[in-house]
């Protein structure tokens, strides 16, 4: 009994203290994974805020974007052109989704829209692979996957670039929401459709814009993850990992998505490395969910949500 307690409560921390450089590496690894979760969760949050749609297909959008990008690069397109074309594809996709899926389902219950995005998920998965093939592909965007060492800690250039890119993207999005008219409308529409309409921007446009923005976020996520581990089906599975992130951060908070993603990423890696061996490993599969669940029981409103008393 005491041994077990020791193994759970003491030994892992002793290991951490024993090799701080390794701990930092684990943390960085967690941070990188967390960043990816954040990006996917961000896509979710944008769409949820603006249209109340819980977009299950966000993960496949990441896969789809990455497949398109790789496909174009493989056919000899220069990086910038390929990025531009992929963006165009994602915007076109947003238009198509608005027209073919969202508009006919406007005013339906949330669960129906949610199910429709699961349908979308299947469709895009098949479509993407049909267009570009289903093999694992290396996405090479010219950033070397090599590491340098700072004070005994290995830092991967690619991961560093990813982190910086993600940070820039978030900053740009924040500016977009604060400073532009359509950005403000997007924020307004989350609270009140009427209010947004009174700004003179049709709901239709708003939807196309958020889905496009979510598509661009998906490109960045796909770019980074694909460069690191190759473009393959498992990319779409990080969508599921974004769900506990959303629980932590709240479905409507951009900041929550970012912070939640980092917490889940780091928590998961720490759990796997230091506690995983105790129960035979591979706890990464569920650790995030259980973490989020435990958290929910304490704070049902999420990290940044306000506690509201339901009106009767």
């Amino acid at each position: 009994m005491l041994d077990a307690l020791h193994a759970v409560l003491v030994a892992p921390f002793r290991d951490m203290a024993g090799s701080p450089a390794f701990l930092v590496e684990v943390l960085i690894g967690g941070l990188f994974a967390g960043l990816m979760y954040s990006l996917v969760a961000l896509g979710f949050v944008l769409i949820f805020k603006a249209s109340g749609v819980f977009n299950f297909a966000q993960g496949v959008m990441v896969l789809f974007a990455a497949l398109t990008l790789v496909g174009l690069l493989e056919r000899g397109a220069p990086v910038l052109l390929a990025l531009g074309l992929t963006t165009a594809v994602m915007v076109a996709l947003a238009f198509a989704i608005e027209r073919l899926v969202l508009r006919p389902l406007v005013n339906q219950e949330h669960i129906i829209l949610f199910m429709a995005t699961i349908g979308l998920n299947f469709f895009l998965e098949g479509f993407g692979e049909m267009l570009w093939g289903a093999n694992v592909k290396k996405l090479d965007i010219g950033i070397p996957d090599r590491s340098f060492i700072v004070r005994g800690v290995q830092i991967n250039e690619l991961e560093l670039t990813a982190a910086v890119t993600a940070a820039v993207l978030v900053a740009v999005l924040a500016l977009f929401f604060q400073r532009t008219r359509i950005g403000r409308a997007l924020r307004a529409v989350a609270d009140d459709h009427e209010a947004a309409l009174s700004l003179g921007i049709p709901l239709k446009t708003i939807w196309v814009v958020v889905w496009s923005v979510a598509g661009v976020v998906a490109i960045v996520a796909g770019l980074m993850w694909g460069a690191k581990s190759g473009v393959q089906f498992s990319l779409s599975l990080i969508a599921l990992k974004a769900l506990p992130v959303l629980i932590l951060g709240g479905f409507e908070s951009v900041a929550g998505a970012i912070v939640g993603g980092l917490i889940i990423g780091i928590g998961e890696k720490l759990g796997e490395v230091y506690w995983g061996p105790l129960v035979g490993g591979a706890i990464e599969n569920w650790f995030a969910y259980v973490l989020a669940l435990a958290f929910l029981l304490v704070r049902p409103q999420g990290l940044f949500g306000e506690r509201i008393i339901e009106r009767v």
């Binding site: 819980f54 073919l100 899926v101 006919p104 389902l105 339906q108 219950e109 949330h110 669960i111 129906i112 949610f114 199910m115 429709a116 699961i118 349908g119 979308l120 998920n121 299947f122 469709f123 895009l124 998965e125 098949g126 479509f127 692979e129 049909m130 289903a134 599921l240 769900l243 506990p244 959303l246 629980i247 479905f251 129960v279 035979g280 591979a282 706890i283 599969n285 569920w286 969910y289 259980v290 989020a292 669940l293 929910l296 029981l297 049902p300 339901e310 009767v312």
Partner: protein, 358 residues
């Protein structure tokens, strides 16, 4: 004038409260059940029994279970696969540890195990709702599958990690295991599903079903009527998981014969959710229609190109199926978000007037 309720005056509340108040419905259901018992074992090929009818029944049972929870009690769950796994592994452990225990008893006890686990993972439903709850049920899904993968005891330390249904008999006939005939397994599944469907119908039209729907439709009003949310939701989780657990046992013992945890992964949770939504949330009949749809569509899709003389490479075929399947789901939701059961009802109303539309 085939389908008429005019002239059938219900002289008592007992008549009106009956499960199928309209005579034609009673006749129809009786005929359907009789046909289901007699026709397939005589006429259906092994392929039809094994690849269509048995999976249809097993999935219908799981869909019934999820429909009780999501369609009636309004608690969205993505943990169906996990609860099915609990049923399957419990049945396997029970059947191998107590070889003389009647196999039907094994199934029913496996359901109890699943119900207990369902209650455990239903506890958060007191504090969280909607999509948040759905994500919480994912914790059940991933944790349970991990558990069955990691702990070799559950598979009796099989090096392959698979569980295999042993040979077991009922009334002298072999109904599970590698040597059982598809007909025997089909009839067993049919019997289970028929009883469980009847029980589900009785539950949802009575006190319990009403308290579930009350919580689903307006939890605050339900509470002031005296519905205790936690107890009501946990009962829904328990009964729903029970159904799913028995379905999980059926999946291994009556359909697949042997399985690994992969058979219960997140994909099956979504599949059963589709059945429920396409069939009709809050409809017993819908659970069957949805299961039939989801079982048949891939079969049709994989045979369709061949039938019209098209030859596709396997990979392309798979992608094509995914696209059509996804597209169909969206199309369905657009055409009739309340599912196949609703379409059936509309058809019935049309029939009622036929051949005089006014």
């Amino acid at each position: 004038m085939i389908y008429r309720e005019a002239g059938q005056f219900k002289s008592s509340y007992a008549g009106d409260q009956a499960i199928f108040p309209v005579v034609q419905d009673r006749v129809f259901v009786a005929a359907a059940v009789a046909a289901a018992v007699v026709v397939p074992p005589l006429l259906a090929s092994e392929y039809w029994l094994q690849a269509v009818l048995i999976p249809f029944l097993v999935y219908a049972l799981a869909a019934l279970g999820l429909n009780l929870l999501t369609g009636y009690a309004g608690q969205l769950s993505l943990g169906t696969g996990g609860f099915m796994a609990v049923g399957a592994y419990s049945a396997f452990k029970l059947a191998t540890a107590f070889p003389r225990l009647n196999i039907i008893v094994v199934f029913l006890l496996a359901g109890v195990a699943a119900a207990a686990v369902g209650i455990l993972f239903g506890l958060p439903s007191l504090r969280i709702k909607g999509f948040y709850l759905a994500v919480a049920t994912l914790a059940a899904q991933f944790f349970l599958i991990w558990l069955f993968n990691k702990v070799a005891w559950f598979t009796n330390y099989a090096s392959s990690g698979t569980i295999t249904a042993p040979d077991r008999t009922l009334f002298g006939a072999l109904i599970t295991g590698p040597n059982s005939t598809p007909s025997a397994r089909y009839l067993t599944a049919l019997g289970l599903v028929a009883v469980f469907a009847l029980a589900a119908k009785n539950l949802v039209r009575g006190r319990i079903g009403r308290s579930w729907m009350a919580i689903r439709d307006r939890d605050i009003a339900a509470e002031i009527i005296g519905v205790r949310p936690l107890r009501t939701k946990l009962l829904a989780f328990a009964i729903s998981s029970y159904y799913c657990g028995v379905a999980g046992a059926g999946l291994v013992f009556l359909y697949l014969g042997s399985a690994e945890t992969l058979a219960f992964d997140i994909g099956i949770s979504f599949l059963v959710l589709f059945m429920v939504i396409i069939g009709g949330l809050g409809s017993i009949l819908g659970s069957f229609l949805g299961a039939a749809f989801i079982v048949l569509v891939p079969i049709v899709l994989s045979n369709a190109p061949h039938a019209i003389g098209l030859r596709m490479p396997v990979a392309l075929q798979k992608q094509f199926e995914l696209m059509v399947f996804g597209g169909l789901i969206i199309l369905f939701l657009i055409v009739e978000p309340r599912g196949l059961a609703r379409l059936w009802q509309i058809a019935k109303e049309k029939l009622r007037l036929w051949p005089f539309p006014h």
